[in-house]
Symmetry: C2
Subunit: 113 residues, 2 copies
DNA sequence: CGCGGTGTATTATGGCACTGAAGCAGTCTG
DNA sequence: CAGACTGCTTCAGTGCCATAATACACCGCG
């Protein structure tokens, strides 16, 4: 029902963001090259570059031309913080309203953990 | 952060679905004509028709040619049920994983209610 | 019947996002 | 310098979305 086909570059972006937050791409580490990640994910190098671009703009990764892209110190924390705020501010209210309309109990779902 | 620009016809679809579930378009009622709703929402009649089309396909709305489109009896319940299932199956797991990663606790979410 | 209200089909057009292919530019290593 | 790696730029193709302008088919009412 819901169109779950997000653009590839956004899926990659989320994938990378999760990896940074979880520390699988540690601060100071070099990210996989666009070509390497593209090959691994079966995507186009340009599409990967577009995903990386998002992080550059936010200053979470730094580019060394001809070398690679590095995770900036503090990136994991800042990323978690900003995503957390964005989630609470923009996504949760809608989700909550949706759950109420559909008769889904938030308390019930959150208790399962 | 999250791209909130969904296609117009999907936004209309969600808007109408919410109205049906909430009973603002009651079962047996006639929906606004494509031209009327288009004018009201500043959209194109064809785009509205495309949104309505979704509900016809699911048998939630019946067309009386030359008259209008009517909400089928039981539509609200069926719609709520199917959306509820889709939500729990497709959206909730991702939301839950996201919350865990971002360190959002159930407690702080439920406190707002 | 005639008129104005419904939804629908057709065709064309412009815009935009996504993806892709090839090549350019910078850096490191030997 | 030569080669192999990096990211980046440019040009192009594809498909979806939204819009528009018509035209058609049906119904209810006077």
């Amino acid at each position: 029902m819901k169109n779950q086909s997000k653009p590839v570059y956004l899926k990659l972006r989320d994938m990378i963001a999760a990896a940074i937050i979880d520390g699988r791409y540690a601060e100071g580490d070099m990210l996989p090259s666009v070509r390497a990640l593209a090959a691994e994910q079966g995507a186009n190098p340009l599409t990967v570059a577009k995903a990386y671009q998002q992080f550059q703009n936010d200053g979470l990764v730094e580019v060394q031309r001809g070398v690679g892209m590095y995770v900036v110190p503090g990136a994991a924390g800042r990323l978690r913080k900003s995503e957390r705020e964005a989630f609470l501010r923009e996504e949760w209210p809608e989700i909550r309203a949706r759950m109420d309309r559909l008769g889904v109990s938030a308390r019930e779902l959150l208790a399962e953990a």
